[in-house]
Amino acid sequence: MECHESVGRTWKDIDTDILVKIFESFNIFELTSGIAHVCRTWRLACSDPMLWKTLDLTLLESNYIKIPLEPYVYVDRLSDQTLTRVLKIALSLSRGNVHTLIFHLNLYLPDHLLTYTAERSPQLRRLVLPAWNRIKKTGIRKAICTWKNLESMTMPSIKNPPYLMETIARNCKNFSELKIMGPCDIHCASTLRLYLPKLKVLSLRCSTLSKEALIIILDGLRHLEVLNISHCILVETSQLHRNIVTELDESILRKASRLRQFLTCMDESCIMCQRTRNDEGLMRWYKYEKGLWKEDEVSSLAL
């Protein structure tokens, strides 16, 4: 190394701000790969709240096969090990400063890791949940009880929403935004009306939506400001059969006119509408472009 007079700065005592700026371009694997093990200054920079406000784990998907018994997936051990390592180190460095937590839709998160994560992210405001398969009722309940500041949640649909919505209602006083990735039937809509009447933003895009459920939502969620039902298959169930509704009638449009934003798309030529139809109202996101599942016409819900 040539001899040259510097003003005393070396890599060891580089400005923390500059280090944080360098680390900001790192993905979750790079952030947890050992830069926090270099020296004290670097370790301090790695824990900077700016780096952990959003914990984006969407690079982590499970390596799995489908099985006919609960939980209907078998995840390979290496896949789980990688997830465990990255999650533990990330949560350790984040020092409880995580505000937004994003999981990939195709991650089969084990129940104990959900609990572990919740305990170390008490400031959480926004949550994007992974697949439900390995998560137990007790696990998600405990987690939500820890997340008292939760405002926004994106989740795959579940068969029995009441226990979940009730837990949110009881624990998360600021909860106002929900996105369900999957069908919404009358039961689901009634649950929202009962437990989350103060909901302000709701997205049900790209799924089967029952017309009756839509009416329950429009009538029952009096504080709703934004409703996104783009690319949904709207069905009407009568005594004899299921009809697909191709146009929103006057009464629905009238009810929806009080909303600040009513996002719809029921266009036969729209590729997303076609895809929802082909997938029979339950989008198989893994079939399509990487990251397509992250989109939403509502800007606060888009990733």
Partner: protein
């Protein structure tokens, strides 16, 4: 057309005359000129003459480039130039980052940070220490934390 020049004074007492259009690539210098503090030259106590010369070289190239037409060839040529520009030893790269930060030259700071990021990615902590000549200065408690995190990698 005469181009206005400004005098910059480095930490080691040398002076450099630079066209204003080039000097104001640095927001720090720009604000000093705007606030009328530039009479008699601008002192830069945090930058040596050697580093200042490199910084000015960068700013000059960027001013020249902004006058040219946007094209793929120009972009490629700039990228190559920037790559060569950064063929420097560790200490100079370190000083360049600090200078870009102090002088508030966003594009140079972004460039040098990207370069350092690329030098870090894929390396183990020991390899990083060797590359950047850093000593492991963890306290015993911190060393214990590090050991715990490393265990998670093996579980």
């Amino acid at each position: 057309m005469s181009s206005k020049k400004i005098t910059l004074k480095s930490s080691d007492g040398e002076t450099l005359e630079v066209e204003v259009a080039i000097a104001v690539q640095s927001q720090t210098i720009k604000h000093m000129i705007e606030d009328d503090c530039a009479d008699g030259g601008i002192p830069l106590p945090n930058v040596t003459s050697k580093i200042l010369a490199k910084v000015i070289e960068y700013c000059k190239k960027h001013v020249e480039n902004s006058k040219k037409e946007d094209s793929i060839e120009e972009e490629d040529e700039l990228k190559e130039w920037e790559c060569n520009f950064l063929q420097v030893d560790q200490q100079i790269l370190c000083d360049l980052i600090h200078a870009a930060n102090y002088l508030n030259i966003k594009s140079l700071l972004d460039l040098t940070c990207r370069r350092v990021a690329d030098m870090i990615k894929g390396k183990t902590p020991e390899e990083i220490r060797r590359t950047f000549n850093i000593k492991n200065d963890f306290t015993p408690e911190e060393e214990e934390e590090v050991r715990r995190e490393n265990k998670w990698a093996l579980e």
